[in-house]
Symmetry: C2
DNA sequence: ATAAAAAATTTACCCGCGTAAACTTTTGTC
DNA sequence: GACAAAAGTTTACGCGGGTAAATTTTTTAT
């Protein structure tokens, strides 16, 4: 490692004995230059530790090698986990991921899209807030930037959608619960933030009807993204009122269930499938913490890797095709039932 | 909103009737131009929706308005929450935060620092991995980029450190537990990733000795960042062995405690301070989920806001002072004991 | 009203790199 | 060894905006 500092590509080209345009080509794609040339550049590279100025590089590019990743709520470990996988894939493929969380705030989601636009990213993976999202802002954004939606679908927006098949989630849990005990009631927020919640309720009702059972939906108060607290308060209430229609509760998602289980514990209600248990509780998502609840939570698991991989692959195809795929596809991955102790 | 598209600052200056250098000055600091001028620019601004090219802007700047935020493990909601607060403060102050997670991997931490350097950020808020961090890489980085460390301290690195006072955490929990029942043993990982863990053990031992009590440290196997699982497996083991030295367990951190509580539940061990309880469990951090454990977790809470605010304020002072503060300060915020049901 | 200070304007050059065109050298093939 | 193709070199210009210097205009103070 020499201590003479290289200020720009010109100087670096000089010390490596290669012309600047060729060096520029190398940084754009190392395989686009002859092997011997690449060798000389790389020799100089670890002797002088030069890195091209990213701002100058991107200034003249129509598209950069940046990929934007936007999630609605990073404090939810579910999204943190997906982000981890997606980031890895992007880096592998030579892109530079930039991570953003809307933190549950539509205004902030808009700001993110705004600053994302000026980053001229090659593509964006967007998990929108859902119902709260500013649809027209997202629509405009998607027209200007190659975007793949994931997790939450918004009608017609983005070049593709990749998510989980809510019907598969709910039909598996409902089928399992109904087969092994009393049929479940459906526990959810009165005004859910996420479109998946609506799909799950509808799937629950249709599945129950198909089984010839009467559906019961229990809606609890509360808004925002503090699902655990909402589940807990709602749980305490329905348990105090003794207003649950059945002894089996199917929560819309694991975070609600975590709160609900906490309410059960505090109310002295024993959850599980043992003979001494008063209630069975199941849910959806396979949240990273669901294996540590008391009792551990029976749930339907996302195929994290499939969703992440397919979202990223789709985005790469989109980028390669220059920003437009033929028709907008919606890919849904089925769930896998995870049987634990709560039901 | 006119539909003529503005391509660059030249054109925007033309339509706003102001010269380009003045417009440039405006974007650098809106208050640096006369009020009437600002008015004309802003009128044009919402008529034509032009935004300066961020790459061209930053190319010639020694320092940008970017701030890097690096955390060791974003899937830990503790960090997700801190990040949320910090991001907000940065945006308020007119900076552009960029978020990175090392995902528990030292090699990735290095890559992040590398790409961060080429972003020429005005400053960086770094929560390092800790023991696993490549110390020399971080040291080199801190010499080149104005950096404030938080959460995990690394000796002498960065211009300042802001974190929580582990001694305050542990002394409060130990004092409380010892006063209200059997004195606690200390439950931790054999080889903790984070320097805070060591400080907590030391604080535990010294506090116990001060109280004239015998310290007992229970170390469990396991490496990596899956603390809950480590706590659970370790918990199952010590409960099966019946090897706990006392009926009161103080976990090094909440994530371990979440796993430990799960082990207690599965082992049929009732936790709490009621007469029918076999074990008391307490911990440190006030993890976002600790209020939803079964039973809810007695813990010592970080002053999230104080840490975030002070870290950000320190970074801003550092930036204003041109990259160096006088002497390296280490600011530690005390804990607040949160009494819940587990102890 | 007038001088002094503050703010804008004009002009001009720079930054670090992308990239096109014309030309030269190196490769690989028969 | 001749020759076409591939790769590299030179030269030159552009991108979009930062910024300095000299000049003009506007504002503020007296």
């Amino acid at each position: 490692m020499s201590n003479t500092k290289i200020r720009n590509m010109e100087e670096f080209a000089a010390v490596s004995g290669i012309s600047r345009p060729t060096v520029s080509k190398y940084f754009h794609d190392p395989n686009s230059v002859r092997k011997s040339t690449r060798g000389r550049i790389e020799a100089a590279l670890d002797k002088y530790d030069y890195r091209p100025n990213i701002y100058a590089m991107n200034q003249n590019r129509k598209l950069t090698k940046n990929i934007g990743i936007v999630v609605p709520y990073l404090a939810d470990p579910f999204f943190a986990e997906i982000v981890r996988v997606i980031e890895g894939r992007c880096i592998e493929a030579g892109f530079t991921p930039s991570l953003f969380s809307s933190h549950g705030d539509p205004a902030h989601e808009n700001e993110i899209l705004d600053s994302l636009r000026s980053m001229k990213p090659a593509g964006v993976l967007l998990a929108p807030l859902g119902r709260q999202s500013d649809k027209s802002a997202i629509e405009t954004f998607c027209k200007n930037v190659p975007t793949v939606l994931f997790d939450s679908n918004l009608d017609g927006m983005g070049e593709a959608f990749i998510g989980s098949d809510n019907h598969s989630f709910v039909s598996q849990t409902v089928e399992y619960l109904s087969r092994t005990g009393e049929s479940p009631c459906f526990f959810e927020m009165k005004t859910p933030a996420n479109p998946n919640a609506n799909k799950r309720r509808i799937a629950y009702i249709s599945m129950m009807e198909r089984l010839g059972l009467e559906p019961h939906v229990v809606k609890v108060e509360g808004t925002g993204w503090g699902f655990e607290e909402i589940g807990k308060q709602g749980g305490l209430k329905v348990l105090a009122d003794d207003s649950l229609p059945t002894n089996t509760v199917l929560c819309s998602n694991d975070r609600l269930a975590i709160g609900f289980l906490s309410a059960c514990y505090e109310s002295g209600v024993k959850v599980g499938r043992g003979p001494d248990c008063q209630l069975r509780v199941a849910s959806h998502d396979d949240h990273p913490f669901s294996r540590f609840t008391c009792p551990s939570l029976t749930t339907a698991a996302h195929d994290y890797n499939a969703v992440s991989d397919h979202a990223v692959d789709t985005l790469f195809r989109l980028i390669e095709s220059g920003g437009h795929l033929g028709t907008r596809t919606e890919t849904l991955f089925p769930a896998r039932l995870i049987m634990r102790d709560s039901a």
